[in-house]
Symmetry: none
Subunit: 229 residues, 2 copies
DNA sequence: CTTTTTCTTAAGGAATTCTTCATAATTGCA
DNA sequence: TGCAATTATGAAGAATTCCTTAAGAAAAAG
């Protein structure tokens, strides 16, 4: 599962930067734009999973931008607006925004809404992950929750599958045992080295012809494990 | 598979248009109607695969419309209602709706429900389905609602048939007990593990030569069941 | 209304997987 | 080479998941 990216659009740099800090803290990638035009340009160039859009901006305001975005995509949009603005007009929900926060806002509230929208978006499958990944003779079959080694289906346990999935979806990248533990178990890693090592070994037993000299699941000494791209 | 068509029925044009944008982005055809009568007329003239129906509408309200539609057809219906409305009346599920969303709603949530219902309808329901599927020595006979194992017809009960159908129409894909329950029973899964397991066993008794070592209906440990492609 | 079939529920047992711990092997570096 | 750090392995008990049985409830058929 790769990092999710949020595009923050506001003409006030202080606000952009403030929001950025909170989002980065939660592990999101953050892109920034100062107006609607910039935001649209960003969308062309980067993979974005959620947009925060201020309504009042120079060049292109948030509502216009929402229309433009909605012509092409269903990505979640959260609108920001000053309290004073007319509540009918600003009810951006009707123009295609998915949620709506009035300024001034509590950063944690915005954060909660970002999370909520992303959860929906990701669960909905709008944010699609490949369901077939092939690396050399190794194939990940997402639908069947199995791995195919040289055309032979291999059953993995849930944990084994998740680890393999993580390494294959990010092939070439090295993951420390700590990282693997946190992403697969979804909890703080404490003394996780050994348990991850045990599972790695089990996976190797199943997918490697010669576990002593692994062809796919390799160790990077002192750092972690990876599957070569 | 050809494009699926959704009929959006609401007396508020802004809502109709808002929903339309999301659905079109997702690749659906969209038809619109302002009240129940219009909706029924639309149904006569066009092929529709799912209906979104507001409850409060002039001329003919959503509940009446649901009754009329259900007299003839089994297509999925999603009801919209204002939060304030009386929870007994609005519990449209009892009058034949398949799902139910309160206003104001998050567009992405509605979209998720539309997708979920359509998936059910298309994959398991009455829409464009093959009426003969063969997997190895296993044959699904839609007309006779039975399964043929090595040329020997086998009678399944309704639930058994539906489970088998789901797994065969999506051969190779793993379904959790929860998913199986929700798709077959068409309701929220609560403590569904056991009941699904019992049915699985019954099916195995009927279609497997050696239920202890199933050839078709396999378990994927910690995840669910599948029938291999 | 009675009989038969199907569905649901509960509970114990069986099988598989996960974790832990002890120990061995390997690597990088002084 | 020898040492320290890191990774690999084996085996056992704990934990989880699945299977099976059986009996009563519900639904369908007669």
């Amino acid at each position: 599962m790769t990092k999710l990216t949020v595009l923050v659009t506001d003409d006030d740099q202080a606000i952009r930067d403030g929001i950025e800090i909170y989002l980065k803290n939660e592990g999101y990638n953050v892109l920034k734009a100062a107006d609607g035009e910039e935001a649209l340009a960003m969308l062309q160039q980067h993979e974005v999973h959620l947009i925060i859009l201020d309504i009042m901006m120079p060049k292109m305001d948030g509502i216009t931008a929402t229309f433009k975005i909605r012509e092409e995509r269903n990505i979640p949009i959260i609108m920001l607006s000053a309290k004073a603005e007319d509540s009918d007009k600003i009810h951006g929900l009707s123009v295609g925004a998915d949620d709506y926060v009035t300024k001034p806002f509590y950063p944690l509230e915005l954060l909660a809404r970002v999370k909520s929208q992303l959860r929906r978006y990701v669960q909905l499958g709008n944010y699609e992950k490949e369901d077939k990944i092939t690396i050399d003779g190794l194939q990940l079959d997402e639908a069947g929750k199995e791995v195919i080694v040289d055309d032979v289906p291999v059953q993995l346990t849930p944990i084994e599958y998740k680890i393999t999935e993580l390494l294959m979806r990010n092939a070439g990248r090295v993951f420390s045992t700590r990282e693997i533990y946190e992403r697969v178990w979804n909890e703080e890693a404490y003394n996780a080295e050994n348990i991850v090592a045990v599972h790695i070994r089990k996976i190797r037993e199943k997918i490697e012809a010669d576990p002593k000299h692994p062809r796919y699941l390799k160790v990077v000494w002192g750092i972690g494990y990876k599957i070569e791209k």
